[in-house]
């Protein structure tokens, strides 16, 4: 594929097409803020999935606690508003930075762990934060959550802010993966001890990967606060609804591919909303309870038959489709 070619331009034609398409997309749904809202959710998951993918897919640090960074970003936007009536919009500046600081602090602990222990360590840190933010009512208003009357009713501004953040996340990952650091990330993923033996400062590069990853997760959190206007610890530090879904978005789309999480995000939001609304009310209402089930089946299928995810195994999928249709390749 062209993407993998080192000498390919930084932004390929296909990518330009996708960007142009993404810019037009909300106007196609002009009459339906509901669909525009879904698109915004897709973009939010693109940011989160891409952030997770850099850490897990490229650097081999499989985080099960991305909700920690997402949540802290959301609260970075919400808390100044709650206590001092400072606009949550500042969160778009502070959210990412606070998440990076948290990522660094947690890193001191969890980077001592490897493999499954690292995963459990990250999972635990998100859960600890969830409990702290739930209990310390004087600071966070606890489970009552923080409500903010959102700035605009129109979805357009939110869509384009999310789009800028999503493209920022994707291209920052693409950029860093084309530098020396990117190759170091891969070497850490493949064999951390060997990388260290070759003289790579693994700790430093793990931290660099974490900084970029947590920054975008925090930005996604801050954006969530500004857009949704309501957060509570159970929502933003959720194990299942944030941490696990983030992983699934990455896995379905394709671990260790630039655009994989974007594809995963589209699939995830589509499946969730199709089922939550009982296929737009066309199916009986019991279908609405099925979205977790169907998504689970999808994940099992992807892991069993295309471990690289939809984009990671795109060549394979293409081949299979062509073979079954008996279409000759023109190459």
């Amino acid at each position: 594929m062209e993407d993998k070619n080192k000498k390919s331009p930084f932004v390929t034609k296909v990518e330009l097409g996708i960007i142009a398409f993404a810019i037009i997309l909300p106007f196609i749904f002009d009459s339906s803020p509901y669909f525009q809202g879904l698109l915004i959710f897709v973009l939010m998951w693109v940011i989160l999935g891409t952030s997770w993918n850099l850490l897990a897919g490229y650097t081999g640090l499989v985080s099960f606690g991305h909700a920690a960074y997402f949540g802290i970003g959301a609260y970075a936007a919400a808390l100044p508003y709650y206590h001092f009536h400072i606009s949550p919009w500042w969160g778009l500046l502070t959210g990412g930075i606070v998440a990076v600081i948290l990522g660094y602090l947690l890193g001191i602990v969890v980077f001592r762990l490897r493999g499954p222990y690292f995963a459990l360590g990250t999972l635990a840190s998100a859960e600890i934060l969830r409990l702290i933010f739930g209990e310390e009512e004087w600071l966070t208003n606890g489970h009552n959550g923080i409500l903010y009357m959102t700035t605009w009713v129109s979805k357009y501004p939110y869509y384009f802010i999310a789009l800028i953040l999503a493209l920022g996340a994707i291209f920052s990952v693409k950029f860093v993966m084309r530098t020396k650091a990117g190759y170091y990330f891969l070497s850490i993923r493949e064999d951390e001890d060997a990388a260290q033996a070759l003289g790579i400062n693994t700790k430093k590069y793990k931290n660099i990967s974490t900084v970029i990853s947590t920054f975008w997760a925090g930005m996604a959190g801050a954006f969530y606060m500004i857009y949704m206007g309501f957060i509570d610890p159970e929502v933003v530090f959720a194990l299942h609804n944030i941490s696990i879904i983030t992983i699934l978005v990455g896995i379905i789309g394709g671990v260790g591919t630039i655009w994989g999480p974007a594809v995963g995000a589209v699939v995830m939001v589509l499946v969730q909303e199709l089922f939550r609304s009982s296929i737009f009310g066309l199916a009986p209402s019991w279908v609405s309870g099925m979205h977790a089930f169907v998504f689970g089946l999808l994940v099992i299928f992807v892991i069993l038959y295309m471990a690289g995810g939809i984009l990671g195994d795109w060549d394979l999928i293409k081949k299979k489709l062509k073979f079954s249709r008996k279409v000759e390749t023109s190459k």
Binding site: V14, F21, L25, Y34, F35, H143, T150
Partner: protein
């Protein structure tokens, strides 16, 4: 390029649906949105309320509907989560284009969804969500004088008033010296615990301890053992349904027989599912309630009987009555709109609501920090031999308050 083709295909499908949702109006049914938890932890409540909305709808339509048009409810499942509730409210407003929303079960979800309704200037008639701030305009960047800009209306009393009916029972009959409070850590639980601690102080009851747990907890024994150690005269619990049942079951298992009274703050403790799951341990438990079928309110008994006839099983508790009455308030409001079913007309009609329902009189008034709030009395019920009996106030009771209670005897097989 195949990729873009697929995306274009998806959009085409999306457009079809978005076109589908508009069209045909005027003579068809009037659609009103209803937001309820139909799946998840709170599905028990949501289902009872949906059944009650449907029951009321059938009766209303059988009597001619709204000025000749049929009434229809569009249900959206909030799954008990605030973020889903917000999206669901947005869908009702933007896709289904309803001019008004009713429903709202849990406090957190209702509050979060209320902000959406307020933003889209869509009247929202809350029937259960009880945290105080839902009808306090200051939490929506408004003041109490902004009634004409505030689109939230509430039928049930706020959680701080749930225990008001209980106060006289405690001060006149039980006279407990101490209380231990156990509550779920959501908005409903924490606010309810706080206001009950205040009530206790007023009545001279010492609060020996207060513990919270999160939704989905199954092991309450550590909590209960702490409570047992404190040796309170009464235990006050604010819980949804499965947690309520488990609390009582496990209290029985650890032989926590010393309190004079186990009291629930409504919600789970009046639900048939509480009795089914707690079994013997539910007996003699007392709860605050907002309604009982034997209250001298016209239609209360009929509603209860019709519900049992239609859906079988145990009859509804106050949650069902709230929903059923909310449906009638919706019908009354729409009828008074006389053909103009715009949001502003509906809001004005809501302001002038003054009617009788099976839940009691409904009228939206202002007091303290609240506006558009319906004022109601609350009562006390007790589970006696598997039946929920109204025991307080005395003049309305349909059974004698079982007291004092020997838990060893009650819980013995």
């Amino acid at each position: 390029m195949k990729f873009t083709k697929i995306l274009i295909g998806l959009i085409a499908v999306g457009l079809m649906f978005s076109l589908n949702s508009c069209g045909k109006k005027e003579t068809g049914p009037i659609k009103i949105g209803v937001l309820l938890p139909l799946t998840g932890h709170q599905a028990n409540f949501g289902t009872m309320e949906k059944n009650s909305y449907e029951l009321a709808k059938e009766e209303i339509n059988a009597k001619g509907g709204i000025n000749g048009r049929k009434l229809e409810f569009v249900y959206e499942d909030d799954t008990g989560k605030p973020d889903v509730g917000r999206s669901a409210a947005e869908k009702l407003i933007n896709v289904d284009k309803v001019p008004m929303i009713a429903g709202g079960y849990s406090s957190s979800v209702t509050f979060a969804a209320a902000a959406v309704a307020q933003q889209y200037r869509t009247p929202f008639l809350v029937n259960t969500g009880s945290v105080d701030k839902i009808t306090q305009p200051e939490d929506f960047n408004l003041t109490v004088n902004d009634g004409d800009k505030f689109y939230i209306y509430r039928m049930n009393p706020p959680v701080s008033e749930y225990a008001s009916g209980l106060e006289s029972l405690l001060s006149e009959v039980v006279k407990p010296k101490s209380v231990y409070i156990i509550h779920e850590n959501t908005a409903f639980g924490t606010k309810g615990a706080k206001s009950f601690a205040k009530t206790a102080k007023k009545l001279g009851i010492e609060v020996l301890g207060q513990q919270q747990y999160s939704a989905g907890t199954v092991d309450f024994k550590p909590l209960l053992l702490n409570a047992k150690k404190a040796n309170p005269d009464m235990v006050y619990m604010i819980s949804y349904v499965m947690d309520a049942a488990l609390l009582m079951k496990q209290a029985r298992e650890i032989n926590f027989t010393t309190p004079k009274l186990y009291v629930g703050a409504g919600a789970g403790f009046t639900m048939p599912a509480f009795k089914e799951n707690a079994g013997k341990a539910s007996d003699h438990v007392v709860s605050a309630t907002l309604w009982h079928q034997t209250l001298p309110i016209k239609g209360a008994k009929e509603y209860y009987d019709n519900y049992v006839k239609k859906y079988g099983g145990d009859g509804p508790d106050y949650h069902g009555a709230e929903a059923y009455s909310a449906a009638y308030v919706v019908a009354d409001v729409l009828t008074r709109c006389k053909g103009d079913y715009s949001k502003e007309t509906i809001k004005k009609a809501l302001d002038n609501t003054d009617m009788m329902t099976v839940f009691g009189p409904v009228k939206f008034v202002s007091y303290g920090k609240k506006i558009h709030q319906n004022k109601m009395k609350t009562y006390v019920v007790q589970w006696i031999n598997g039946e929920l009996k109204l025991v307080w106030p005395k003049n309305l009771a349909n059974a004698k308050f079982e007291y004092p209670i020997d838990w060893k005897k009650v819980w013995a097989e």
